[in-house]
Symmetry: C2
Subunit: 205 residues, 2 copies
C-alpha cells in the first residue's frame, strides 16, 4: 500500500483534534482541502486568520466578541434589564441562552466548574470579577445556568452559599422534562426533579 | 438574540462547504477554533498552507503526490508490475485500491466519468494521456475500476470499445455481494451481477 504525502497526514492529524471529527472524516476533509480546485483552501486560511486576529472574550462578562465590541454587545445593550445576571460555564453557553426567549439580562462566564479532583478551586473560576460586577452594576439576582452534573451542582451550591450571604438573590434554572420529551424516556432523577419543581397552574375563569 | 461576531459566521460558512459538515457542526468547529487556548488555529493554518504549497497531482497518472515525488511513488516504484494499469475516476480512488491486496500494477486517474447531460465528453477526460502511456509503458491490460452507476458503466463501455480496438486487454472489477454482506440486504441488480459473475470453485482433493 502507498501512504498519503506527509503534509496531508499532518493536516489529517490536526483536523482530528477538532470536536466531532474522527480519523476517517479528518482524512476525507484533508483530501478535499488538498484537492480543491477553486481556491477554497485559501479562503479557509483567510477566514481562520481573520478569526484569529479579531475574536476576543468580552473583558466584562467573558462571552465571545470581537475587537470592535469590547465590552460585548450584550454588556453594552442598554435595552437589557439591569440588575440581572445569568452565570454560565463556557462562553458558548451564552449563545444558546440568548437565543431562548424570556431572558433579557446580562451574562457572566465562569470559565469552568469546581472540580477538586481536577484541581479546579473557586479561585480558578471567574468569581472575583462576578463579585465586582455585583457591586458595580447593582445586581439584585443571579441566575445559575450550570450543567446539572455533579460538578455543576457543586458549583451552583458554592455560588449560592457565597452570594446569598452577601444579600444577593440566587436562583437556578429548572430541571425537568425536556419540551417534547415523553415520560417513558426520562430518567428517574430527571422525573424526581420535575416533580419537586412542579409549578402551580393558575387558571383564571 | 445576539448573533456571533461576523468573522466567526464567515468561518462557519466556509467550513460548511466541506464534505460531511453541516451548519451545526460548522458552527461548533468555528467556535472551537475561535476559542482555542493553545495555538491550535495557528497549527491548522500552517498545516493548510503546507498542503497548499506542496501537494500536487502526479503528472503521469494523476494521483495525489507532493512536489518531491513527481511522478508519484507508485509510478516510479520498480517493484510494481509493468504492463498493468488500473483506471479510476478520482485521485482519491487510488488510495483505497492500493490498500486492497491483490493489485500490484500502476494507476491512471480519468478525472471524472462520461456524462453527456452534464457536458462531460471523452475529450474532457484524461484519455489521451492514457493512450500515450499504453504505448510508452507497453501496457497489456487495463483494469477499469469505475463506479457502477449509469455514468460509470457508460464510461467503462466507451473505454472498453476504444482500447480493445487497439489490441489492449480490458477488464473491469467484479460486481457482487460485499464481503460480510447477507443476501437479504442486497438489491436485485447486485444479486443478478453476482450470479452472472459467478466463479467456479476448484477443489483439489
Amino acid at each position: 500500500m502507498h501512504s498519503l504525502p506527509e503534509p496531508i497526514l499532518e493536516l489529517t492529524d490536526t483536523l482530528c483534534r477538532l470536536p466531532g471529527i474522527g480519523p476517517r472524516s479528518a482524512e476525507r476533509l484533508a483530501l478535499s482541502l488538498a484537492l480543491n480546485q477553486d481556491g477554497f483552501d485559501e479562503r479557509l486560511i483567510k477566514a481562520l486568520q481573520r478569526v484569529r486576529e479579531t475574536i476576543q472574550l468580552c473583558r466584562n462578562c467573558g462571552a465571545i466578541t470581537d475587537k470592535e465590541h469590547q465590552p460585548c454587545k450584550i454588556c453594552t445593550d442598554e435595552r437589557r434589564e439591569t440588575g440581572l445576571i445569568c452565570v454560565v460555564e463556557k462562553s458558548t453557553d451564552t449563545l444558546n441562552l440568548s437565543k431562548a426567549a424570556g431572558f433579557n439580562g446580562r451574562f457572566h462566564v465562569l470559565g469552568g466548574k469546581l472540580s477538586p479532583l481536577n484541581g479546579v478551586e473557586p479561585e480558578d473560576l471567574n468569581i472575583l470579577a462576578l463579585e465586582n460586577r455585583i457591586s458595580k452594576e447593582s445586581i439584585n439576582e443571579i441566575i445559575l445556568a450550570l450543567s446539572s452534573d455533579v460538578e455543576g451542582e457543586a458549583t451552583s451550591h458554592y455560588l449560592a452559599q457565597h452570594f446569598t450571604s452577601q444579600g444577593v438573590k440566587v436562583s437556578r434554572i429548572a430541571s425537568g422534562l425536556p419540551v417534547g420529551g415523553g415520560i417513558e424516556y426520562a430518567d428517574e432523577l430527571t422525573l424526581s426533579r420535575a416533580l419537586s419543581g412542579r409549578l402551580e397552574m393558575k387558571i383564571t375563569n
